[in-house]
């Protein structure tokens, strides 16, 4: 928790959620915790934005929701990646990689 968190663009939130759900189906709280732990606090997604994204992605049929039981036996809404979502993730990841590489090529000589 040393570096200040970076604000994320909407598209970034979407791709991070898709990547996270690619591991396994998770509820919203799980997704938020996973991203926080994975990036060691560098990327924090405001939970409001996270839930909005989850419902948006569900509408786009990239993820689907199902009610299940959580670790502590509570009713929780689990999201999982759909086939379309997986394709979308692949496409967005490729775009991100190209984008990042291009940015690095400019920044490198510094």
């Amino acid at each position: 928790m040393t570096k200040p968190p970076i604000d994320l663009l909407q598209g970034t939130v979407d791709v991070l959620i898709l990547r996270t759900l690619a591991w396994e189906p998770m509820h919203g709280y799980g997704v938020s915790r996973f991203i926080r732990q994975r990036t060691e606090g560098v990327l924090t997604i405001e939970s409001a934005a996270l839930y909005q994204a989850l419902h948006r992605l569900e509408r786009k049929k990239w993820i689907q929701a199902e009610w299940g039981l959580s670790e502590n036996n509570r009713r929780a809404k689990y999201y999982s990646l759909t086939v379309e979502g997986r394709q979308q993730l692949r496409a967005e990841a490729a775009t991100w990689r190209t984008y990042a590489e291009a940015v690095f090529k400019v920044l490198e000589p510094v």
């Binding site: 709280y29 409001a48 839930y51 009713r75």
Partner: protein
């Protein structure tokens, strides 16, 4: 109703309240978990919860956002679910149909016939009554007819003088054009060909707004004398006679011995309104008539077509023309008293006559469709019985009632669409057959095609019939489900209401069939009446054809006499010829009119009376079989140099010589006061002129004293008249090879052609009535068979208690006759209404014609009895033990 259905439809998806609760649950879970995490990190419970909410962001906005997204997903899901269920229903229907091929076949044939008949008739109605006529801005086109108060004629021709005055004085029309009859004989390399045609002034094609297919139409001034003679060809003549020669424009052709330059060919869609048979057009020159003071206003031979100025209405145009005619009446009382005009919209002028028949036939085809729908509905009701278990299982598995109704409606619609597809095929064939059988009688037959309007209507009719025959059984079946679930398929109570519904359907069917049968019966009797009425002459074994003399060599009366004398002599010499004669027109083709003045009698006020006028050969009356009542017939002595003589028809004599003896009296025919008086030498029987006309008072003159340059020849034979035609052609060719034998028919055929426009509606009505009867019989059979099957146990009990076979038989037949009686009563009431609509199509029969009504009742009862026979016999054979055990 719609609202209720929609509420049912929404049921399987998440309602908005449900979505809101789900979202609350989801967020509560988050806050609880986050709070617990923060507590684990050492925060106090209350602080942790506050922190969780704070770091979350805008909770309210998120909720609204998520609910909006959820609502959208839900809507989309509902759509995809609907499609999925529809596919499921269609697949289900398909499977159900494959299990019952017999039912499907009967239903499909029934629907295909109903929909096919409707579509075919509608395509004719569409082509003639709905589609635009193939002219530019057809709504502004007007046909102007002459009217004559004296003779009561409302659709006669105008005189050249009146036409020119109308044209120059009127302000409501951009153009008024005149035309008259004017065919010709095309003399090419092969046999000469008679072509029907019109002479038109330069304004006619402009008024019609026709763009030629090749070349051009007439220019102003081309219709005056001394200009190089020209001709415009109709598309059919161009294709048939000139082999679609694309270089024909500019070539010269020989028409009736005169060379004419072809200047244009009209498009295929073009037909000449109110003279559809015309296929060649030559310029009309009015100058000679306008110069001849005896003909200027007394020779009525012009048809007039006008195009209304933009903004002018038909009523304005009509009243303006009428007021000009009233002025002419004052200026020229001797020629114009009682003469007026009637301006009629072009569509009305072209198809007005066919409209009532078309609408009656369309109505009949709709009734057939209703009967077909009732039949299929009845079949579906019966089917619902055997499917009760299946539906009950589906209901038990959670399908709501609306869902089941929807499934059954889908089945009905699938059935209807399949039937509609087959029906469309039938309609395509039917339309072609209809046009082929009536092409020469239908104005604008080329307009009749299966176009987008027809296809769309067919689809609408199909879907509507699917809904009509599907809804009743679907609702009945879904209502039956609850009962079915309760008593596992034995439920007689659901059966009772369903049976009542079927009986009602059958009664309705029988009623409709009765209406159609009565309609058809009345038309048949009209036609028989028309065919069998006394014409005043005999049409058996009689051949008729037309000969028009063409060329300068026939300009002299002597040359014409010589030709016809040779013709009559040669034909009379042929074997099996009894008599041969010639006349200006045969009676069924109408004829000329002339004014009649009688020597020694005071001139009547205003105009002279008009009578029919025919030049005839010496032997015409013998050939026609018209009896001589008084005096003598014409002979070779009544020639050009002899004193003029005339023979009168009985009805003419009755009107003007109450004592019945006109022999020796002198009359003058025609408008010219300088013509000599003619002496009456004979009286002959009346002849019937045609369908509309009865006998017309007629004066006959000798063909040797008035030469028309052409005659309709009548040959009475002792054999099949058409077999004589080759010999006749040979004789005509032997006299002059450039003269064609045209319009050759037996007189029977001529009459038959005359009656085509009455026969066609009659045949269609009869076909529809027969179809309706068969369908109704199938309906009766179905309901009786079902009723016997459902009452097997009851019948078993009755037999066990001592009922005789004849009692059982009677019971079933009585039930059938009950439906027949009700149907008959309703149907006769309906037929009374139908008869009123049909009056204009009837001839010599009243809509309440007793023989027709009795006949229909007898036919209906016989058919119903026949339909009851098999179920009744089955009932008789019920074995009481078997029946009681099986339950």
């Amino acid at each position: 109703m719609i609202g209720r259905v929609r509420r049912y439809l929404r049921f399987p998806w998440r309602a908005s309240s449900r979505r809101r609760a789900d979202l609350e649950d989801e967020l509560r879970f988050y806050f609880d978990m986050r709070t617990r995490e923060l507590v684990e990190q050492g925060m106090g419970e209350a602080d942790a919860r506050r922190e969780a909410v704070r770091e979350f962001g805008d909770v309210e906005y998120t909720k609204r956002y998520c609910l909006a997204e959820d609502a959208m997903s839900s809507r989309e899901e509902r759509r995809t679910d609907f499609v999925a269920e529809l596919r499921q229903d269609i697949a289900h229907s398909w499977k159900a149909f494959r299990r019952a091929p017999g039912f499907v076949a009967v239903a499909l044939i029934t629907l295909a016939l109903g929909i096919g008949a409707n579509t075919a008739i509608f395509s004719v109605v569409n082509g003639l009554l709905l589609r635009d006529l193939p002219f530019g801005e057809p709504d502004r086109l007007v046909r102007v007819w002459g009217t004559n108060q004296g003779s009561g004629a409302v659709r006669s021709q105008l005189s050249a003088g009146d036409f020119v005055d109308l044209r120059t004085r009127q302000r409501s029309f951009t153009t008024l054009g005149a035309f008259s009859w004017g065919g010709g004989t095309y003399i090419g390399t092969g046999d000469p060909v008679r072509l029907a045609g019109a002479r038109v002034d330069a304004k006619v094609f402009t008024a019609l707004g026709v763009r030629p297919y090749l070349g051009r139409t007439f220019a102003v001034g081309e219709d005056s004398a001394g200009v190089n003679p020209t001709i415009v060809l109709g598309f059919n003549a161009w294709r048939r006679v000139f082999g679609s020669d694309s270089t024909i424009v500019g070539k010269s052709i020989n028409l009736s011995g005169r060379s004419r330059t072809v200047i244009g060919v009209l498009p295929a869609s073009f037909f000449f309104p109110t003279m559809a048979e015309a296929e060649i057009f030559t310029p009309l020159d009015l100058t000679p008539v306008l110069r001849d003071v005896n003909r200027t206003r007394k020779f009525h031979n012009l048809g007039v077509i006008g195009r209304l100025r933009p903004g002018a209405t038909l009523a304005q145009g009509s009243s303006e023309l009428s007021s000009i005619m009233r002025q002419l009446e004052r200026d020229f009382p001797e020629s114009n008293s009682g003469m007026g005009v009637a301006a009629v919209g072009m569509r009305e002028a072209v198809v007005g006559d066919t409209r009532p028949a078309l609408l009656v036939v369309l109505g009949a085809s709709l009734l057939v469709l209703l009967i077909a729908c009732a039949n299929v509905a009845g079949m579906l009701l019966s089917r619902a019985v055997s499917r009760r278990q299946e539906l009950a299982v589906r209901a038990a598995l959670g399908a709501g009632r609306a869902r089941l109704v929807r499934q059954m409606m889908t089945e009905s619609l699938v059935l209807a669409l399949c039937g509609g597809a087959v029906g469309l095929g039938l309609a395509l064939l039917g339309t072609r057959a209809l046009v082929a059988s009536a092409a020469d009688r239908l104005p604008a037959a080329g307009q009749v095609t299966v176009d987008a309007t027809v296809l769309l209507t067919a689809l609408l009719v199909t879907v509507a019939s699917g809904l009509v025959f599907g809804l009743v059984p679907a609702v009945a079946a879904s209502r039956g489900i609850q009962l079915a679930l309760k008593d596992a398929g034995r439920g007689a109570s659901a059966g009772v209401s369903r049976h009542r519904m079927r009986t009602a359907l059958v009664t309705g069917q029988l009623a409709l069939a009765v209406m159609l049968l009565v309609g058809a019966g009345l038309l048949v009797r009209s036609l028989v009446g028309l065919q069998n009425r006394d014409l005043g002459y005999s049409i058996d074994s009689t051949l008729t054809f037309e000969v028009i003399l063409v060329g300068d060599r026939y300009d002299s009366a002597a040359a014409q006499d010589q030709f016809f004398d040779a013709l009559y002599t040669r034909i009379a010499a042929l074997p099996s010829v009894v008599a041969v004669g010639g006349s200006g027109n045969i009676p069924m083709r109408g004829g000329a009119m002339a004014s009649l003045a009688i020597d020694g009698r005071p001139q009547p006020e205003g105009k002279l009376p008009e009578v029919g006028y025919q030049p005839v050969s010496d032997d015409l009356f013998k050939a026609m079989g018209v009896p001589l009542k008084r005096g003598r017939l014409f002979g070779p002595q009544d020639n050009k140099d002899a004193p003029p003589v005339v023979i009168l028809s009985e009805s003419l004599v009755r009107s003007f010589w109450p004592n019945g003896d006109p022999i020796g009296a002198r009359v003058r025919l025609g408008p010219n006061p300088n013509d000599p008086w003619m002496t009456v030498v004979g009286v002959v029987g009346d002849v019937n002129m045609g369908v509309a006309d009865n006998s017309r008072p007629t004066a006959y003159v000798s063909g040797r004293q008035d030469h028309w340059g052409g005659m309709a020849i009548v040959v009475r034979t002792s054999t099949d008249p058409m077999s004589l035609l080759p010999a006749v052609r040979r004789e005509v060719r032997a006299i002059d090879p450039t003269i064609p034998v045209a319009a050759a028919h037996s007189m029977k055929q001529v009459q038959s052609m005359q009656l085509t426009d009455r026969r066609l509606p009659m045949q269609l009505m009869a076909a529809f009535a027969l179809l309706a009867l068969v369908l109704a019989a199938v309906g009766v059979y179905g309901v009786m068979a079902y009723s016997v099957a459902a009452r097997t146990r009851e019948i078993g009990v009755r037999v066990a208690l001592g009922a005789q076979p004849k009692n059982v038989f009677g019971m079933v037949v009585r039930q059938g006759l009950g439906a027949a009686g009700a149907g008959l009563t309703l149907g006769l009431l309906g037929a009374a209404a139908l008869g009123r609509v049909m009056t204009s199509l009837l001839y010599g029969v009243k809509p309440t014609d007793a023989p027709t009504l009795i006949g229909v009742a007898a036919v209906l009862l016989a058919v119903v009895l026949a339909a009851c026979l098999v179920p009744a016999r089955r009932a008789v054979r019920v074995d009481p033990l078997e029946a009681l055990r099986s339950e």
